[in-house]
Amino acid sequence: MKGGNQDRWEVDFSIELGDLTLKNPMLAASGTYGYGRELNNIIKTDEFGGICTKSITPLARDGNEPPRIAEVKMGMLNSIGLANVGVHAFIQDKIPFLQSLDTNIIVNVAGFTIGDYVEVIQLLEEIDGIDGYEINISCPNVKGGLEFGSSAKSAAKLTKTLRSETDRFLMIKLSPNVTDISEIALAVEGEGANAVSLINTLIGMGIDINSEKPILKNVYGGYSGPAIKPIALAMVQKVYHSVNIPLIGIGGIMNAEDVIQFMLAGATAVQLGTVNFLNPTALTEILDDLVAIAESKGIRKISDFKGRLKEWE
């Protein structure tokens, strides 16, 4: 004990996601942290409570034609289009490093048919060191993929099938581009999902008035970053009042205050997405700042923030 009363405030950062225990409530969001290795010389990847990998499909995908990213004010648009190495190369080239990390590994799975999802999961079931799956039913960048996320019926059907394939932690990632997101959350909860993560990107578009072209070749792209945070928070709050499984909040998180906001609204954990592009060491800063916030509020267990939102009298 150095420094006597200068001790650092102690915070228990661990949180429970179903049967999983995460050492802290921050996960890397799918598609914004590669396969875990890329940033490992800038930040120790296993400081994260968990890593959600880039979406994995049965075959390798090039993704959409460029330009497929563009900046807008307070955010970005992407139409990457599920570019990934495919499940086989993933298992061979990417899994070993992920297994070596002292953090939870959630493999994000995407597909165009139920069969695609099943194929990926069946192959991954053979592999050790995977703590769960996040099912991307909400990527707005590919035709077909959106279907599962935009109706409660198709989301439920997919969840049911996947539930029968695995006993691992199964988390469904919800699309914000729907009339009633809690209806879909309820449907997947009903089929045995262990958690839902929300939100994926919103459908957006930008235009360059000089060239008179869309800023993305694909015209539409997924909107992410701080600009979408108010929408994400509202959806987390809404879903929190609809389901009992844990929520993982995503959308525009840039700092520790944002993390607390999502937890107050009902999230058990959160994912850091676009912030990884701007500030690869964001996680380290957030962990420090969370301690300061917790101390100012006399909180010793980070999970105490969950759903603590107060009402106006």
Partner: protein
């Protein structure tokens, strides 16, 4: 990191130096740093700049003010703190063949070649430096870099015309083993064409809009001709991670 100096060195062109880290001291020519000029406000993405020089305690970049990001950069002063990550990317191959090389650059494509020039000089490589500018007012190449042949759009510096004309000329008189190029895309395309005709190995440094600069957003793709799997399927390479320097035969510019 701390800004050490930020000075105008030519028309609209600045040299910025900042405190080096141990990691940055290991930088190689062709690698870049990625700068967050305005927190999470617009401009939203970081801005990439080639490393122009690394000395014992500082790193230099040379940039042209062309938009909001570079404008904000130009307002920084010694002592300001600046959010820089790097070195990033794959630089030029430094296994020099020993035989004659040409460095050819245009505008603010020249900084990585200045860094490369230093490394070559250290190793005593014989080289020719061809530099194209809009006008003499844009020239920022320091005097210690000798043996530069200039071209300019308006003839105010060196030959009037394209820097690639100097290349063609140069190849008539010299046997060259390796061309190292950086500059605007049309220039690079012409350089590659000339290199191909003359069957000379050619390394180009490519620019794309970077979302992250660290290989995680998968946005900065260029079509490749590698016929093998890359991080993003088979068709594309990531410029920020697999480049920005490519062998000209590996990518379709």
């Amino acid at each position: 990191m701390r800004v050490l100096s930020n000075e105008k060195i030519a028309l609209n062109i600045y040299s910025l130096t900042f405190e080096s880290t141990a990691l940055l001291l290991e930088s190689l020519p062709g690698q870049f740093v990625n700068i967050n000029v305005d927190g999470e406000d617009s401009p939203f993405f970081r801005r990439p700049f080639s490393i122009a020089d690394v000395s014992q305690d500082s790193v230099e970049i040379i940039y042209e003010v062309i938009g909001a990001g570079t404008w904000i950069l130009s307002t920084m002063a010694a002592g300001d703190s600046i959010d820089i990550i790097g070195p990033l990317g794959e630089g030029y191959d430094l296994n020099f063949s020993g035989s004659k090389s040409i460095l050819i650059g245009g505008g603010v494509g020249i900084p990585p070649l200045m860094f490369l020039y230093n490394k070559m000089k250290e190793q005593g490589i014989e080289l020719q430096f061809l530099a194209g500018f809009k006008s003499v007012a844009h020239n920022y190449i320091p005097r210690r870099i000798t043996n530069v042949q200039y071209s300019s759009d308006d003839g105010s510096l060196g030959t009037k015309g394209y820097v690639t004309d100097l290349l063609t000329e140069s190849l008539l008189n010299n046997e060259v083993k390796h061309i190292y190029a950086c500059g605007p895309e049309p220039m690079l395309r012409k350089v590659i064409e000339i290199a191909d005709e003359n069957e000379i190995r050619c390394s180009v440094s490519v620019e794309k809009v970077f979302g992250c600069g660290t290989g995680i957003c998968m946005g900065c793709v260029i079509e490749n001709s590698l016929k093998r799997f890359t991080e993003t399927g088979r068709k594309y390479s990531l410029v920020c991670m697999e480049g920005p320097v490519f062998d000209s035969g590996d990518v379709n510019l």
